[in-house]
Amino acid sequence: MDYLDPEEEFEMMHADELEMMNEMDFTTDAVKICSPKDTRRSLKFSTRFSSNEKIESERSFNLSSELNGVFPLSQTSVVSFNLDDNNENEAQPSTSASIINNKRYLDVEDLFGNTDDINFEDEELEPVLKRQKVDPLSDKDIKQQDLIKKIIDQRKKFKSGKRSNFLSSISYNSSNHTQPYESVSRRVPSWSFFPACDGENQRVYIRFRSADAVHEEISSLSWHTKSVQLLSDPVDEMIARAYEKIENNEAIRSGVNRNGVSILDNSIDNTAELWVQKYKPNRYLDLLSDESTNRMLLQWLKIWDKVVFNKEVNKKRKVIDVYDKSAGNKFTKKNQTLDEGLDENNCPKYKLALLCGPPGLGKTTLAHLVARQAGYNVVEMNASDDRNLTCFKRQLEATTQMCSVMSNDSRPNCLVLDEIDGAPVASIEFLIKFATEKRATRKKKTDKKEEKSFILKRPIICICNDVYVPALRNLRQNAFVLNFPPTSSVRLVERLMEISSYENIKTDMGAMTALGTKTNNDIRSCLSTLSCFRNQSVHLSHVKNANIGAKDMQKGLFTVWQEIFQIKKSCFENNPNSTSDGFSSQNNVMKDRINSVLKTVQSYGDYEKLCQGIFENYLILKPKDSSLTNIAEGLEWFCNFDKMMHVINSSQNYSLFPYLPYNFATWHCLFATFTWPKITYPSAAYEATMKKNKFKQIMDELMSGIIPSIRTFLHRDQVLLDTMPLLMHIAIPNLRSISTQLFTQKEKEDLAKVVNIMIDYGLNYFQERDADGSFNFVLNPCVDDAVKFPGLETFPTSSYATKQLISREIELEHLRKRMSHGELNDIIVEPDGLDENEKNVSTPKGVKGSRNKQVTPNHLQRLTPKIVGSTKVTKKKDFFGREIDSPAGHKHKEFRDEIVKSDVWFHFKEGYSNAVRKLVLMKDLY
């Protein structure tokens, strides 16, 4: 009901207040107490007082005069009340009537179903109108009349709307029905009827009516309701539209089914659902991924039938294998042939399947779908699950050994481990053990069948993106590996076209192909990109310019290098429209190239490694120009890169980091060719680091070996560069290979000098056995390796015998020094007298021990009792030193001696218990 003009509205709004004012005049005391909150109550009061208009009209005068002060803003109301002042006779009742009307109006609005009120209203209003028509009409009167008329109209409309609810009791005149008839009768009617009973058990006859008649009635009613406009659109229109929609849906669904894609029932309006989910393949045939891969996984699952469902494996399938012509899929092919066999438990050889491939090819979808197709209940674990060892173990055992009891679903489980490359290594190890080791233990215990043998009897499908993650190395060997080839772009584009036609996206093949290439045939990415263009048209330019769809995917190290070293041909192909002027196209191509290189390098991130790879490979590749200017420039950029890296690493200031990729862009410009680059993995840096560490260790050893008096004057680098290379030449004595006794004096001096030098620098020769079994003396620490610089002449080496001699002399010299330190000068060691054998016993302590004592050899030594000096008879002395005799003690001693010191003593011979008694006759002896 929106037909109120501002005036009306105002009056309606303030009707309560006006009434309240009236009331206030009655109860003068209560004026101050009354507040707007009490409007409801006051309204009731007013209804009560509404009957006696007389009083009201009397009071309205005062009210209006008061109103001037109260509502200064509401001009219209003030005017109307001023009018009342002027012609009191006529206007007063009308004003009151209008007030009453307004008030009634409100009442009706409050109590919607009260028909008595309406009837009363109509009767009431009639006289008012009549009265008003008699009067000469001023402007204000017309206004009021209009208002009243409108109110009456409203009433009527309301009434008619209300009555239209009761279809059975249509008895009003305004409609098309000329003769009103009753539907219910208490007597037996002439028309066709249906007998029934009412609440008081009285017979009632209800009229039977034809459907057409009812329809007619309904249409007539709808004509009325149309005028009311309760709804924004008429019902029949809405129904028609709904039918239309349903038909559309049907058409689409049937069309979709025909094309092999199915849509969920509520697909059209359900925008919340992802398109990936919406257009998910529901049948094996709908799968978009490579057919041979799909088939292989299904076959692998089917091999489980024997153990899971106790069904014979269909042998016919082998024939199909022949037709698997997956291009370049030798690897999977090989696995496939291995795959068919069953082990002694009727389980497939590979208990795990490992699907690997870049994201968005539908690996997870395939696994789910195929497992469902093969009759399994799919249990998925992915990166969002807790995958530490204990949880993983629990889940694994739960899914493979148990079956869901609560649900009616009695299908066996098939575990799908998604994104397994992110799982902790321990979990993966456990998985492998779980799948394979059980087999081994089982083999051992073939006789004890009752042993608890948890053989894995459910298929497990693992899914990963990169199969060459170190954590998966073991899994790779123990699983049936299926590499996902990229989805064929033809099929992808076909499917995309289908989907866009269902989604009312206007597009063409070119745009979809571009989308496919942009996303690397990633179905998921394609669909999500497409869904951004919902209800729009998609053209090639849209796809090209859209920033979405390109996934932040990390490429492999070699791929990045290759991209840097190789110019993509597609760069030229993709810009066919810009061939008009060569220069700009060249520019564009260059820009594209640089951008793509930048993007790739940035996504990889490990700039140092990339740089190493480029540095090691750029010279191997075919140079672009013979003058080598490119290479020279490239080298400068290498220097630049190195400097930047140095600053970054030394100051930990990564603000320079974003500039690093531009080096790669430059290298790309300088080195890239169209030929396929043969890139080797950079190893020089690693080798150099290893070498450096090794030599550093040697130098440490050497420095710690040099005796302190010399070490104080030496620096590490000094030793390495100046001292040691020369020392290698110096420490070679010119000796003849003869016995040391026959050396000349000079030779002896030489030897002594070499020995002293070597001792000073802590060097020595050590005997070592070669791989072929021959002995060799090696310098220890092996400084000769460290100081051997390429380009220098090799050091002269002395013969085996000389080395041996020097080694022995060094040992002896050490010994001598140690002895002199230990102040054992009296024992002279004759080095020349020692023979060869003794020299090899080089432990100085042993040598020292054996030489110090010149006594009888051990086997000749005997234990001899120690001769103790005879105890002297000490005579007791008294305080003054005089000897004291103890006669008693002396006598006792003598007595004791008598007993003990008799010359003859008895030597008891116990004999042996094992004596043999034997009769020996005299004649036997002779």
């Binding site: 008693a888 007993i899 010191k901 008799s902 003859v904 003593w905 008895f906 011979k909």
Partner: protein, 112 residues
Amino acid sequence: MILVKLIEDDDGLGSPPEWAAVEMQGELETRRHTPLERQYVGDLFATIHDGVPILIIGHHILYGKAQTFEKPFAVMKKKPDADEYVVEAIVTKKLLFKNRPKPIIACNSDDL
């Protein structure tokens, strides 16, 4: 074999004196490696009640028992200038000491 002339009984019958042989488990040795001839060896006693022989050599005391030979021995002495032997005695029993000797420890009242 050591023959011992036992102490004569005072029966006064004029019978030849009784001798006994002493047999010991072990040897007699001298401390200074002097020959045993004409050496003092020890004291031989017999208990009063049951006649158990007791021999004390040096600081050893040996308890033995008396046994009779199955065949008695005769101790004969050659006359100096004729080929005649005079029976000195008939040895009919031996004193056997086969148990381990017990040491005799001299003890002084002072030492205690």
